[in-house]
C-alpha cells in the first residue's frame, strides 16, 4: 500500500535519507527501528511531505512524492508525530474535530467510535488538551488521526516516556487498527514491543534500510543487532 523507492531527504547540506526502499501492506504492522538520529522520523516526514522528498513515494499505486501534506492526508495517509503534537489551548473535543476531514465522512472512526474506544477522552472532552497526562495525550493524538479514517498510519515513537500499562494499551490499539486492514508503520525505540506486535521489521542505519525481515529473523541475526542497534 505504502511504498518508498530510493527515497532521499536533506536538511540543507546534510544528507539524512540515502535511498530508503521499503513497503507497508494493508493490515500489516511494520516496525522501523534504528539508533537515535538515524533518520526514522525524517522518513515519516518526507512521506508526509513535511520534509521535501527526493525519489519515489507510492501510495495505492499512485506516485505521491512531493505533494502538499494536506493532499497526502486526504489520500489516506495518517501521521502521529513523535512529540505528541496536541494543540494546546484547544479542548480534547476540538483537537478531535481537527482530525475530521472535510470530505469523506462516515468511516470506521467517528466521535462515537472514538469515545467508545477511549472513554477517558469522553470524560475529559472539554478539558484543555495540555492538561491531559502523557498517556492520555498520546491516545488523543492517535484518536485524532484515526478520526480522519486513514488507510495507512505512521506512528512515530508512541511509547516514549509512557508507563508499561499504557504501552500495553497502545500495542493493543495498534493491533486492532491493523486488524481493520490499515497499514501501520511503527517507529519504535523499544525493541521488545516492536518484536511482539510487528509482522515485519526494518532496521535503519546510515540513512538506508540495512535489515528487512520478521521479528524472529531479527532475533536470529545477532550481527545486525550488534552493528545497527546496540549502543
Amino acid at each position: 500500500m505504502l511504498v518508498t523507492n530510493e527515497l532521499h531527504a536533506y536538511y540543507g547540506k546534510s544528507h539524512v535519507l540515502r535511498g530508503v526502499s521499503m513497503e507497508v501492506r494493508a493490515g500489516e504492522i511494520v516496525s522501523l527501528v534504528g539508533r537515535n538520529g538515524v533518520g526514522r522520523s525524517t522518513l515519516c516526514k518526507s512521506v508526509m511531505g513535511l520534509v521535501p522528498p527526493v525519489g519515489d513515494v507510492h501510495f495505492d499505486g499512485r506516485r505521491v512524492t512531493g505533494q502538499a501534506p494536506h493532499r497526502i492526508a486526504h489520500l489516506g495517509i495518517g501521521y502521529v508525530p513523535e512529540d505528541r503534537a496536541i494543540f494546546p489551548g484547544l479542548s480534547v473535543a476540538e483537537n478531535l474535530e481537527l482530525g475530521v476531514k472535510r470530505r469523506g465522512n462516515g468511516g470506521r472512526w467517528g466521535y462515537r467510535d472514538v469515545f467508545n474506544r477511549f472513554p477517558r477522552l469522553e470524560e475529559r472532552r472539554d478539558t484543555p488538551a495540555e492538561a491531559l497526562s502523557g498517556g492520555e495525550q498520546q491516545m488523543l493524538t492517535m484518536a485524532r488521526t484515526l478520526m480522519g479514517n486513514p488507510r495507512c498510519i505512521m506512528v512515530d515513537e508512541p511509547t516514549e516516556g509512557l508507563a508499561p500499562r499504557v504501552v500495553a494499551e497502545l500495542a493493543d490499539l495498534l493491533k486492532e487498527i491493523a486488524a481493520d486492514g490499515i497499514a501501520v508503520l511503527l517507529v519504535e525505540q523499544k525493541l521488545s514491543i516492536a518484536k511482539q506486535i510487528s509482522h515485519r521489521m526494518y532496521v535503519m542505519g546510515d540513512g538506508r534500510i540495512v535489515f528487512d525481515g520478521t521479528p524472529s529473523q531479527l532475533e536470529d541475526s545477532p550481527d545486525v543487532r550488534k552493528e545497527w542497534l546496540e549502543v
Partner: protein
Amino acid sequence: MLETITFSLLNGLLYGMLLFMLSSGLTLIFGMMGVLNFAHASFYMLGAYFAYTMGLYTGFWVALFLAPIAVGLIGAAVERFGLRQVHQYGHVPELLFTFGLAYVVEELVRLFWGNTPMNYRVPEALDFPLFSLFGTNYPAFRVFVLVVAVSMFVGLYLLLKRTRAGLIIQASLSRPDMVSALGHNVPQVFMWVFAFGTGLAALGGVVGGIQLVTEPGMAFMMGPIVFVVVVVGGLGSIQGALIASILIGVLQTFALSVDWSLANLGMVFGYAVPPESFFATIWYMDSTRIAPMLPYLLLVLMLIFRPRGLMGKRES
C-alpha cells in the same frame, strides 16, 4: 467637571473603538499568524479611499461592504504572491517587506488621489444628532461607529471560537505542520486569514476615514499605535485588543481634556520642584503634552513587566 468626564469617556470610547477596528485584523495577522505586518494601517487607508471613491457612485452603504471586500482581495494577493515567498526567510525580511509595502501604498495613494485630504463625509442617513447631553449634541454617526466595532468584535469572536476555520487558525499557531498533516490546507487558510484581517482594517478605514481624516498620511499616523494595541492587549487575544483599545482611547482622551500635571499632585502634599530645577520640565508639564506619549509608554512598560500583554497566551 461631570460634563468633562462624561464627554472624555464617550470620546475616549469612540477613539478606542476606532483603534479596535484597526487593530482587530492585526490581532489575527500578527497575533495569530505571527506576521509582523507593518503595512496594516495602509489597508486601513485603502479602505477609506476606496469607500470614498466607490461611495461617489454607489453611495455609502454599498461602499461599506464593497470596499473591505476589495481591500481583502488585495490583501489575499499580497499574502499569496509577496509574503508567502518572503516568509521562508524569516521575520525580519517579512517586516522589511511590509515596511516597503507601506511606503509603496502611500505613494500610490498620492499618485491616484493627490496630497490633499478627501472630502469624505458622514453619509446623510447618519448625519443627525442622536441625543443631547449637557446641552451638546451627540452625533448619530459616532453611535454607528460603536455599533460597527461591537459587531466586528462579536463576529470575530464567533469566527474564532465557533468555526472550524477558527480551530484551524488557533491550532496552526502552535503546530502548523501537524494541522496540515491532518488534511488542512494551512497556506490557504493563512491567505484567507490575511485577507480577512486586511478587510477588517479596511472596514475600520471606511468608518475611521470619516470620523478622523482621509489623507495620504493617515496610515503612518495610525501605523505604530495599532501595534501598541495588539501587544498591550496580548498577542492573539481579541478580547485583549478590545480592552487595550478602549484603555488607550480613554487614557489619551483624558490626558488631552483634563489639564493636569505632577505639580497638581505635589500641591496636595505641599511640595513643589523649584522652577529652575532640571526636573521642572517634567514637573510642570501638563497632561495634554504627555498624551501622545502615553500609548508608547504603556507599550514599553508592558513589554518590561508583562510581556504577554493583558490577555495574551504567549509572549511577544
